[in-house]
């Protein structure tokens, strides 16, 4: 791993196997720079909301529109949770969009639909998990770099999705599935509940469990983590498994939203997810990251999309704005980092 700043801190922890990653992480998360960046990010989000409100006072901050925005953020949000884990562990996953496509197709074949909604859901989750684990095994035990292993999955998962579906759009006729996932619970759409649940579980997993601390340790310095007694290979495989499982959940959401499974689902999810994770403040080199930042990152892009549509503006300007936001966020991140390295 090329991570520079974290190595010395971690190395001091080798005499005590379990807590070192935590010792390394704790002062930083409570520390000043993280909060400033997150506050800045939330500021951007609020600013965008303000712009939306000013340009469309009657249509933007309505309950219906907020609900629509969150529903649209749900699938990519869940994928981004998995991506956050992968990137924190020092890897990258280019296959998420293709796995979403494959899961969505597999769970909507006529055979799966004939077994009812429960099997459809299980099928979506299993396919996602299995693809993720294959990624993980190839990377950890097959020693293929993440970029290449997931690139292979990127190609072959979508290929298999096309094969299974015959490149057709498979409309869901199973009404039990659509009624539940397109419905609402306590007045809030089920998809939004799912998004909240995945984020909550992800946050606890990352910040309050050994698993999360190990993920940070592996991403910070894999060799040091290994010396500290962490089974790095197994851990890496599991992290990609989580990312795959998230894709399976996202596939359920996409199928619910579009009432169909298609091999074209999840196009460019990998890019959107990586963008959201990066502007959320997770280091692409691994070892540090924030799920709340990722959530804000996802919301920024969703709000941006909504503002442009509500004001009937062309998508080309929107893409420019998207690029500017990514660059600005990363610049902010790197100057912060440089300043901190100089200080220590």
């Amino acid at each position: 791993m090329t991570s520079k700043s974290s190595t010395p801190v971690l190395a001091t922890g080798t005499d005590d196997p379990t807590p070192p990653p935590r010792q390394r992480e704790r002062p930083r998360r409570g520390g000043f720079p993280v909060d400033v960046r997150l506050a800045g990010l939330v500021g951007v989000l609020l600013l965008l909301c303000l712009v939306g409100y000013i340009t469309r006072p009657d249509g933007f901050l309505t309950e219906a529109n907020i609900s629509t925005m969150l529903r649209l953020a749900a699938a990519i949000g869940v994928v981004s949770v998995g991506m956050t884990f992968v990137i924190i562990s020092g890897g990258i996953d280019l296959s998420v969009g293709s796995i979403v496509a494959l899961s969505s197709v597999w769970m909507t074949t006529l055979a799966t639909q004939s077994y009812g909604p429960v099997v459809m859901v299980l099928c979506g989750l299993l396919v996602g998990l299995a693809c993720g684990l294959v990624n993980g095994l190839l990377i950890s035990y097959g020693k293929i770099v993440p970029f290449i292993a997931t690139l292979a999955m990127y190609a072959s998962a979508r290929g298999l999705a096309e094969r299974l579906s015959g490149r057709r759009t498979q409309v869901v006729s199973e009404t039990g599935f659509t009624t539940f996932f397109r419905g609402a619970f306590l007045g809030i759409p089920v998809l939004i509940w799912m998004l909240a649940l995945v984020f909550a579980v992800g946050w606890v997993l990352l910040n309050r469990t050994n698993f999360g601390r190990r993920t940070l340790a592996v991403g910070g310095n894999a060799e040091a983590a290994r010396l500290a007694g962490i089974d790095v290979k197994r851990h890496t495989a599991l992290v990609y498994g989580i990312a795959g499982l998230c894709c399976g959940i996202a596939a359920i959401m996409v199928v619910a939203r579009t009432t169909s499974g298609a091999s074209t689902n999840g196009l460019f999810y990998e890019l959107d997810a990586i963008a959201a994770v990066v502007i959320g403040g997770t280091l692409l080199t691994g070892g540090r990251g924030s799920l709340i930042g990722t959530l804000v990152g996802v919301l920024i892009f969703t709000v941006l999309n909504s503002i442009f549509t509500q004001n009937n503006l062309d998508t080309d300007i929107q893409n420019i704005a998207k690029g500017v936001i990514i660059v600005a966020a990363v610049l902010l991140q790197s100057t912060k980092l440089r300043r901190r390295i100089r200080k220590t």
Binding site: A111, S114, T258, S260, N305, N312
Partner: protein
């Protein structure tokens, strides 16, 4: 160790079981075999009599969406209809170099007529010329070559008229309902493609003739997912909407899901391309979908029929011309409840 073995056994069994379940979920075979649903040209008239044997080479892009899949399927079905036609179809590809190589192979195979639906008309022009120079008659389908030197005949759709007819239909409906200043929305396809620009221009021009204009407009990616996302946002921005034109019935599944999700019934929707799914909805007449404007993949069937006639040096029976015309533009008919029954045969599975 025993506990580890047991754990491994349990995990192994679970994994095997999961694999078995997943493997059982891959089939897409309908319980009862559905009717064959390819659009083929009628088998009547003097031209339908078997004649000289013709070998037709066929090359098309990958069948990666319903419309393109129907193009290949129709071409094959039409060829199967003729006892005197041998079809040599190549595997569809979206790689231009690959398609050029495929066409070159067909040229070397000395087929009598070539039917080419290029992934990119400009990029395939040169190989179309090569074929023509080698004495093979080329039928260019839909995406036109840069020069007539590269094809003997062209058959394709009319994107501009698709927009015009959608606009005319919506304008007529608005006038019939006495809506003086309607809000008319548009869900376009990929905006950077010339075909989308032509469709939008036709739509705009037709509405302008009626004194209307296009209101909220979004562009999707021809996929159900993008259709859902863009339409959900569009509906949020347009609290009042009287009509909506969606360029493409493949993405229309997502567009309808968004309309359903928003619980909106206050406007009429017109589709584009003519999928079986949309035609069934038009026929049922229970939702917002009232019509769809054709850009029918039946043109692929016609292209094979044309190729056969070229190979046998025949003309089109009812025309005075001795030869097959060089350019044939299909008509983007409006399919509505009144005439949907006569168009169900050209509807394609999205």
């Amino acid at each position: 160790m025993p506990s580890l073995d047991r754990r491994r056994f349990l995990w192994g069994t679970t994994a095997l079981g999961a694999t078995a379940v997943l493997a059982g979920c891959t089939s897409n075979e309908a319980p009862q075999a559905g009717a064959s649903n390819a659009a083929v040209a009628g088998a009547s008239g003097a031209n339908s009599q078997p004649g000289k044997a013709v070998t037709i080479g066929f090359s098309a892009p990958a069948a990666d969406h319903g419309w393109m899949a129907a193009m290949t399927k129709n071409a094959k079905a039409q060829a199967g209809q003729f006892s005197d036609v041998t079809l040599k179809a190549t595997e569809g590809t979206n790689d231009v170099n690959q398609q050029i190589a495929q066409v070159e192979t067909l040229i070397n195979d000395k087929v009598d007529v070539l039917v080419i639906l290029p992934f990119d008309g400009k990029a395939l022009t040169e190989v179309g010329r090569q074929a023509t120079d080698a004495g093979i008659q080329v039928v260019n389908v839909d995406r036109i070559f840069d020069t007539p030197l590269a094809y003997r005949a062209w058959i394709g759709g009319d994107n501009y008229r698709m927009g015009v007819n959608a606009g005319n239909y919506i304008a007529a409906q608005m006038k019939a309902k006495n809506i003086s200043s309607p809000v008319i929305g548009e869900v376009a396809g990929i905006d950077s493609l010339p075909l989308t620009q032509e469709r939008s221009k036709g739509f705009k021009d037709a509405l302008a003739r009626a004194g209307f204009s296009v209101g909220p407009r979004v562009s999707a990616q021809f996929t159900p997912e993008s259709g859902e996302q863009q339409t959900a946002n569009l509906l949020q921005g347009a609290s009042k909407l009287d009509a909506l034109w969606n360029h493409d019935d493949d993405q229309g599944i997502g567009v309808l899901a968004a309309i359903d999700g928003a619980g909106r019934k206050d406007f009429i929707m017109v589709g584009g391309a003519g999928s079986r799914n949309m035609m069934n909805l038009i026929k049922a007449d229970s939702g917002v979908v009232k019509a769809t404007v054709l850009y029918s993949p039946s043109m692929a069937s016609s292209a094979i029929a044309l190729a056969r006639m070229l190979g046998q040096a025949k003309g089109i029976g009812d025309l005075a011309e001795h030869e097959i015309p060089a350019l044939i533009t299909t008509y983007s008919a409006v399919v509505s409840k009144e005439n949907v029954d006569s168009y169900l045969d050209v509807g394609f599975d999205s």
